[in-house]
């Protein structure tokens, strides 16, 4: 009896381990922001094809390092890698999925998407120039909304992150002052406020501090019912952070003119566009050591572009627009080669 149970458990354990690391699995590493959707895709893809994906969400910087050293099949980065670096490392960069960053606030009596802000006002808050919620600059945007005479506590990500890169890029785009004094990177020298580690750190600090404002990824804000705000977009319209607004941003981006697919979705035109949107990227070797592994990676993302949209939307990510996915497929055929032959043909 005991022996049979033990054998049974061994068999179960055996299948578990076999399931987690079979020979043909794809390995990837990098950005944390898209990790939930990559992992959800991986589960569905494994059921379909038997090929697994082992994705480590270790941060964009570490992901870049790993693909530069070719220790993984693909790297993932939230911020696009510079063209020269891609050329030097012989990497193809393509977008996988799109996400948005949304400001959140902690103000008594203010409901979600009730407060209206413009880019320059948001920049001035984070520059420490606007320090009170009752400031005229904010009150003018919100007639009829009663704002407390409370200090503003700007809250930011203390860890280096793609979210910060996207948010700071937006502030640089809308405020010349921000661009010259602070700029944009995965972590910046914040002129005011306090930092929390990760989305949960920012959300927690905002929740704990009356009068705080922060920024998190939309997936995090929607999953936790955080109080988001409306932002004025390039067309001068106030928009709430909703999936259609993010889709509008993706559709209105200049994909044709972008190098390495690094199309900016920061402050793109269009009436319905949410201004702080960005793609997250995959880095794939152009001359892979193993053509088969590279082909497996391409097959995975090819499948995800066709069949993974529902999963992505369920997790509040925005799938790539169809024409962009088509462009990416062209790039796979044209650029990922072993001995001059493409590793993947549709």
């Amino acid at each position: 009896m005991k022996i049979t149970t033990a054998l049974g458990m061994l068999a179960v354990a055996g299948t578990l381990f076999a399931g987690s690391a079979s020979a043909g699995d794809i390995t990837g590493a990098g950005a944390t922001f898209p990790a939930p959707v990559y992992q959800a895709w991986a589960v569905a893809y494994k059921e379909k094809t038997g090929t697994g994906l082992n994705y480590q969400s270790i941060g964009s910087g570490a992901g870049q390092t790993q693909i530069f050293n070719r220790t993984v099949d693909f790297g993932a980065s939230d911020a696009p890698v510079q063209t020269e670096k891609l050329a030097q490392q012989k990497l193809l960069q393509f977008p996988a999925v799109i996400g948005s960053v949304v400001p959140i606030v902690n103000l008594e009596g203010i409901a979600a998407n009730q407060l209206k802000l413009t880019g320059p006002v948001l920049a001035d808050i984070y520059l420490g120039k606007i320090t009170k919620w009752s400031d005229k600059a904010i009150a003018d945007l919100n007639p009829g909304v009663k704002l407390p005479d409370l200090g503003i506590v700007p809250t930011y990500r203390s860890d280096g992150s793609g979210t910060t890169f996207v948010f700071a890029s937006y502030l640089s785009d809308v405020s010349a002052d921000w661009k010259s004094k602070v700029g944009a990177a995965t972590s910046v020298s914040w002129p005011a406020g306090a930092g929390g580690k990760g989305n949960e750190g920012v959300a927690g600090t905002v929740k704990n501090t009356k009068g705080a404002i922060g920024y998190v990824e939309y997936i995090y804000a929607s999953a936790n019912n955080l109080v988001t705000v409306q932002l004025q977009n390039k067309a001068g319209k106030y928009v709430s952070p909703t999936v259609p607004a993010f889709q509008a941003a993706a559709a209105n981006a200049d994909w044709a003119g972008a190098k390495d697919f690094a199309a900016s979705m920061i402050n793109t035109p269009g009436d319905a566009t949410w201004p702080i949107t960005s793609a997250t990227f995959i880095l794939l070797p152009k001359e892979p050591k193993s053509g088969e592994q590279a082909a497996e990676v391409i097959k995975f993302f090819n499948w995800a572009f066709d069949n993974g949209n529902e999963i992505a939307e369920k997790l509040h990510y925005i799938p790539l627009p169809k024409d962009v996915a088509a462009r990416v497929r062209e790039a796979w055929k044209a650029e990922v080669k072993v001995d001059g032959k493409p590793v993947w043909a549709n």
């Binding site: 390092t65 506590v153 280096g160 020298s189 914040w190 501090t209």
Partner: protein, 330 residues
């Protein structure tokens, strides 16, 4: 007695001698191997330490080359312009660790003296075990506790009255200014104080228990109060070990990472206020490391920060040894 020993003892004694002599023959090589292994263990520590220092120094060297010694007293940390300086982190590391020791010290004294002198036998064990358990709580748990419980309490009940009361005062007011964020230097120091409490207390208890009862009893005998015995007998007797305990606590606080990252506010700006967000060397490395690209000046600067932390810890340890020695001489 004698008869039985002689009768039964001699043959077995002979057998034992035989086995001892044969064991020695084998033991000679075994002993040599054992001694060599012991040497290996000892040298291993030295080599490991040396390699870690070398790795940190080599990794941080580009940062020192780029910024020179200015790296140590530049208060900028700007990843966008790649202009890095360590002053804010060095200041934050020392400031928060000193706050922790200042808070933990009187508490440790109190607990240790209570345990060794006052507490009834039935209470000693539970309190002693509870303090040891404090040391077993993982640092990330302290971080979460600090973030979700202590920081909101500080923001609601501690910081606002202190800011209103002491903030306007000259000089000392500088320590109590800014918005009530909950986190910051003081909160970080408070959490670390609780974390280092068990270490300092354990050593204090040990020291107090080593005070010869004769000394204490003589003092009580001439009519000294509990406080007088504490101040004039116990503390002077154990002063050297106590300095060592404090330094040990300080050393632990200097390198604390996770709990501090949660509550210190992570701002790379210099501020005198106890309530202002700051950063320590360890928290900065924890925050920035995952996104620091290979070969970037940022990574070099982070490694240089690690080297500086190593040096600071070394100085603290050396200082404690020096203090203990000078105390011993006097």
């Amino acid at each position: 007695m004698d008869a039985t020993m002689n009768g039964t003892g001699s043959p077995s004694a002979g057998g034992a001698l035989e086995s001892i002599s044969s064991a020695r023959a084998v033991g000679r090589t075994a002993d040599a191997i054992f001694v060599a292994l012991l040497w290996g263990c000892g040298i291993f520590v030295l080599i490991l330490l040396g390699l870690i220092i070398a790795m940190l120094f080599e990794g941080g060297l580009p940062a020192f080359r780029n910024f020179g010694l200015d790296f140590l007293w530049t208060a900028t940390w700007n990843p966008v312009t790649e202009n890095f300086g360590a002053l804010v982190m060095i200041y934050g590391t020392l400031f928060s660790a000193i706050i922790a020791v200042v808070i933990a010290l009187p508490l440790s004294f109190g607990i240790a003296f209570f345990l060794s002198e006052i507490a009834p036998e039935s209470l000693r064990r539970p309190i002693g075990v509870a303090i040891q358990l404090l040391a077993a709580v993982p640092s990330i748990i302290y971080g979460m506790w600090g973030f979700f419980i202590i920081a909101p309490l500080m923001a609601a009940y501690v910081q606002p009255p202190l800011i209103d009361l002491l903030g306007p005062l000259p000089v000392i007011g500088l320590l109590f200014q800014g918005p009530a964020l909950g986190g910051g230097m003081l909160t970080a120091g408070l959490i670390m104080a609780i974390m280092i409490l068990p270490f300092i207390t354990a050593m204090f208890v040990e020291t107090l228990e080593s005070v010869p009862p004769m000394l204490k009893e003589s003092a009580y005998g001439v009519g000294a109060t509990t406080y007088e015995v504490y101040k004039n007998v116990s503390i002077p007797y154990g002063r050297t070990a106590m300095v060592g305990a404090i330094m040990l606590g300080l050393g632990r606080a200097l390198g604390e990472t996770m709990a501090v990252t949660f509550v210190i506010g992570n701002a790379t700006r210099l501020s005198a206020s106890l309530f202002a967000p700051g950063a320590t060397i360890a928290s900065t490395i924890a925050n920035e490391f995952p996104e620091a690209a290979q070969g970037s000046l940022k990574l070099d600067s982070l490694l240089a920060l690690g080297f500086i932390l190593f040096v600071i810890s070394f100085i603290v340890l050396a200082l404690s040894r020096f203090l203990v020695r000078s105390n011993l001489k006097s």
